[in-house]
Symmetry: C2
Amino acid sequence: MTVTIYDVAREAGVSMATVSRVVNNNPNVKPQTRKKVYEAIERLGYRPNAVARGLASKKTTTVGVVIPDIANANFAEVARGIEDIANMYHYNIILCNADKRKDKEIRVINTLLEKQVDGLLFMGGAVTDEHVQAFNTSNVPIVLCATTDEKGVIPSVDINHEEAAFDAVNRLIAEGHRSIAMISGTLQDPANGFARYHGYKRALEQAGIPYREEYVRNGNYKYESGIEATQYFLSLPERPTAIFAATDEMAIGSIHALQDNGLSVPADVSVISVDNSRMASMIRPLLTTVAQPMYDIGAVSMRLLTKLMKKESVDHAKVILPHELIVRRSVAAPKA
Amino acid sequence: MTVTIYDVAREAGVSMATVSRVVNNNPNVKPQTRKKVYEAIERLGYRPNAVARGLASKKTTTVGVVIPDIANANFAEVARGIEDIANMYHYNIILCNADKRKDKEIRVINTLLEKQVDGLLFMGGAVTDEHVQAFNTSNVPIVLCATTDEKGVIPSVDINHEEAAFDAVNRLIAEGHRSIAMISGTLQDPANGFARYHGYKRALEQAGIPYREEYVRNGNYKYESGIEATQYFLSLPERPTAIFAATDEMAIGSIHALQDNGLSVPADVSVISVDNSRMASMIRPLLTTVAQPMYDIGAVSMRLLTKLMKKESVDHAKVILPHELIVRRSVAAPKA
DNA sequence: CTGTTAGCGCTTTCAA
DNA sequence: TTGAAAGCGCTAACAG
């Protein structure tokens, strides 16, 4: 039924070993022999069985990727970065959604390891001891992608979320704002949530602006929660002159809530966020936001993983990619 | 180093076969024996090797997915549908981006087949004879996802793009519009491009509205091309009262181009499209658009594939999922 | 209910 | 430069 390396060997009048050498581009084969083998392969329509190869060689040229949700634009962008570089190094990707749920994360880590992936790329929620423990049940290299572990023991590539938020809020302060509200993510989320909230607080502190409880509202990263939070801010006796949203989507919700209430952005209220998603340049006014290099996070972490898999030495196993403030039109000085 | 089924067998004082039975939940094992085996597994930290299992059983519980671009929101949504159902049936997904480029598509189909996937889900550009030929080099079931082959021989799940476009344009006509422009995709693309263009033409025809060359402008699905096309329409001596865009993104570009030119949507010009992406409800005015059930396309095609992989009989191997017009606020009657 | 025994298709020493 | 042979870790008859 299926043609194997053995069939090719017989057809070409050589041994299996030689066919194997040809298929794997081993230079120690006489050109003439090589030609014979190629012809036999062609004639028989031979296709190497990667599973058998994997068993024999203990390498699958496959890496596992655990991702919170591939339908999320940010993660999809990371995934694309991963795949492009993987491709370049002839690796394939097994993709598993885990929705930032610890049990699911642990489970997929294990099935990925069962599949004998050569390496693992992990994006998720907090990286707990339990995760680390799961990682340690095997020797395959791991890199954390767009997250870090608290202990800082696992290689990772990420941006500095705290600093990104800090920069965004500082921009508002530089413009003259003193009444700055924040639409945050869930504070349980270490990266998008907690760190950004802290950046906000630090910026306020540094500028000597008192922190006000009622100026912080938790959202769920989504458009609707941006609307909801903004409506709440508008109901306050003293409404903020600027709003910092932890994500573009919430910022857009905020802008629309403002506009739907007859307010103008940025004339009446300024809005800033972090992400720089496609949508940031697809609304009016164009959104000022801090760009996160999602594609690069994926690409760099995959590149790092290839090095780890080849046991190459790696100088810094913790890489922080730079973010950048993209100034567009949603921020202006507060009204006098 | 690594603990194998053999080690477990020895530790538990049974044969490999018995361990295998336990691991695979074969009911023919005395509960007591089962318990002994589980304990040995626990003690040794045994983790089955899926590669070895794959070689022996000729099943990898892995399916290959070729996708144009995971960073594209529509495809990412499909991918999520696929993954969820795959998960449910205990399959894993190997994901390959192929950018709708035939050479890349053929290449990844082959590497996926080398990896001995149990099934293949294909999303891409046109499905040519060359594709079919590549599919036929193996016996693994294939299903086309959000595409169809011209010959109609391969199982597939998709929506009726022509009809979706037809419905959208009809809505405009029902509203009283007679000057309807279209921002199309590239006509080489069978689904999003050509079919939607045809739906547009057919709707016009049926309503007895003459087709006008200058009212059709090719875009590339992106926001910017929606802007560009709309600016062109506005430069026409007789400008259209309504615009049909082949994608939401182009529609949003169109709306902004209109607004940036001081026109109001829908008071001055109506805009309609197809996709119903998240963004459709994240702009002002809210976009009227035909919803494509992307997640379901993924889910249903994966479900179909599981049946094919189990050699279950399948009544209809060509499934067309229903689309639906989502009426929001970007369409109104033309000015008198 | 359990064990024995062949492979699955390939890579990889080791010799020649 | 080539071949022989021993596995890689597991499943799947088959026998008992």
